[in-house]
């Protein structure tokens, strides 16, 4: 960024200074994001709630994400079944396809794929919308009209994402398992009834619950990253575009990181 990273003696970059500065600005950013997240959650958990806005956002975030979540899930389920079959084939374990598909989808892939797809569709959309409102002074206008942007804009998006993500993950679970079944029955010559029976026998409430808990956290990450980047967007089309990109990349990485941390936690507590 600045040329301070090139030391006085002849323009050779000082890697330590560079790393130090990068680390400092990363910590500062994490701190700002943390404070912001606290404010959003605070506004979301205390009345009064703006139910009209909440409903609007649930439709925008939840309902309109159904196609993308459904399509992603069917392909992930299908690919998973195919890969397990090919891998299992090597030591005669191909009959475990239904079990591993349902486990993989409910505990892991249903939630992760939904989180990642929404990190694209929803986070970038929120960041662009809020960013455009910021640079056209609409957020200032809200404040002068005695509406708190945390209550009016950010909290409804946060709540809507946290409430609709689990529903979307449930849909992804069902469609994902169905994707695996489709491939198994029509391409891999599994018997349909046996496949479904094995799936049902192996399906546990705990595995589904794990996916749903992850979904709530992903919803929080997705909404907060979108609102945060949007609300500090710089003026102009490039500023808003940059906010959308930053928010999307940030949300995707955080979804995966949070997924790993939660998986570790759930394994350790035996869920």
């Amino acid at each position: 960024m600045s040329d301070a990273s090139t030391s006085k003696s002849g323009g050779i970059p000082n890697p330590l200074a560079w790393i130090g500065r990068a680390a400092l600005s990363l910590f500062a950013e994490v701190g700002r994001l943390g404070i912001y997240a606290g404010q959003v959650i605070g506004a979301a958990l205390t009345p009064p709630w703006n139910l009209a806005q909440l409903w609007k956002q649930m439709i925008a975030i939840g309902f309109y994400s159904l196609p993308v979540v459904g399509l992603s899930a069917v392909f992930i389920g299908a690919a998973l079944a195919l890969n397990i079959y090919t891998g299992g084939n090597r030591f005669g374990a191909e009959q475990f396809v239904p079990n591993i598909v349902v486990l993989g989808i409910t505990r892991e892939l249903g939630a992760t794929i939904t989180g990642l797809m929404l990190a694209g569709r929803v986070t970038a959309g929120i960041a662009a919308e809020i960013g455009a409102m910021k640079v056209t002074e609409q957020i200032d206008a809200l404040k002068t009209l005695s509406a708190n942007p945390f209550r009016y804009l950010y909290a409804p998006r946060f709540l809507a994402a946290c409430l609709t993500l689990p529903m979307l993950v449930l849909v992804a679970d069902i469609i994902g398992v169905m994707g695996g079944w489709l491939v198994s029955v029509f391409a891999l010559d599994f018997d349909s009834t046996t496949y479904i029976r094995n799936t049902m026998d192996f399906l546990t409430m705990d595995d589904v619950l794990v996916g749903l808990i992850k979904a709530v956290v992903f919803g929080a990450v997705i909404a907060i990253m979108g609102c945060y980047q949007g609300s500090k967007s710089k003026a102009g089309a490039t500023g808003v575009g940059r906010a959308a990109t930053l928010s999307m990349v940030g949300a995707a990485v955080l979804v995966l990181a949070a997924n790993y941390m939660m998986s570790t936690l759930f394994v350790n507590i035996g869920l």
Binding site: M133, T136, S146
Partner: protein
């Protein structure tokens, strides 16, 4: 002497090394129309945003109706804002809401008015700015620039504020529409008996709506006087601005 409705005392605001406001002193009395002139980028919008509490000054104080509101938050801030109106430079209409919900926004949200009643009030107020009920259900993006300014004006006056800020109300409009907006501003501000602070670099507007004119230059108010002596201000900076000359003490910002 009456107590000013708004007073800025030695207000300073910088962005990094960009010292935008370097000690602004200005006040406006109830019912008075003050116009502030200043070149592009001289900090006029920043000054308004400090006055409204959308930005906090680095130092200095802001008084509203005698109370120090510089660092006020929450309920007190809202109470103050309920007595103010603001017409933003860009209009700042909410593009996700139809026109009438924009106009009635404060009634619907802060004052929890019933929708039917709020819509009626919005349509009445639209009439005051010469807009028909037929546009009430359109969205801001479907209106021309001049109509958007009228809607923004309606939103600023609907709750009958005591102080209204206008940030370049006529910029980007043709001279005839601009003049119509000026007339509306004068008419509505008079009808409310409100004080107003208007920012402009359009001299025709300034002459028309001002009781008093002040000039912001290099972060300070360098001149202030009655509108009718603006041509004989005796100040070289004001003279150059009023006559729009490139030569003079002010260097064009290019």
């Amino acid at each position: 002497m009456t107590q000013p409705i708004l007073e800025l005392k030695d207000v300073k605001k910088s962005f990094g090394s960009n010292h935008v406001l370097r000690g602004v002193n200005i006040d406006v009395s109830p019912g008075q129309s003050l116009v502030i002139l200043g070149g592009s980028g001289s900090g006029k919008s920043v000054m308004l945003k400090n006055a409204l509490g959308l930005m906090t000054p680095d130092s200095g104080k802001i008084f509203f109706d005698g109370d120090d509101v510089t660092h006020e938050q929450g309920k007190e801030r809202e109470a103050m804002r309920a007595r103010m109106g603001m017409l933003f430079q860009s209009g700042a209409l909410f593009d996700s809401l139809p026109v009438w919900e924009n106009v009635a926004f404060r009634l619907l949200n802060a004052e929890k008015m019933k929708r039917a009643e709020a819509k009626e009030r919005a349509i009445d107020t639209l009439k005051k700015v010469r807009l028909g009920a037929s546009i009430a259900d359109l969205y801001p993006a479907e209106l021309s620039g001049g109509m958007q300014k009228r809607v923004a004006l309606a939103r600023a006056i609907i709750t009958k504020p005591e102080l209204i800020f206008f940030d370049e109300p006529t910029t980007g409009l043709d001279p005839i529409t601009a003049d119509a907006i000026n007339d509306l501003i004068i008419e509505q501000v008079k009808a409310l008996g409100a004080a107003s602070i208007s920012i402009t670099h359009d001299m025709a507007s300034a002459r028309k709506i001002a009781d008093e004119i002040a000039m912001l230059f290099e972060g300070e108010i360098i001149w202030r006087g009655p509108a009718d002596i603006i041509d004989n201000s005796g100040n070289d900076y004001v003279d150059q601005f009023v006559h729009g000359r490139a030569e003079g003490p002010i260097q064009p910002a290019i």
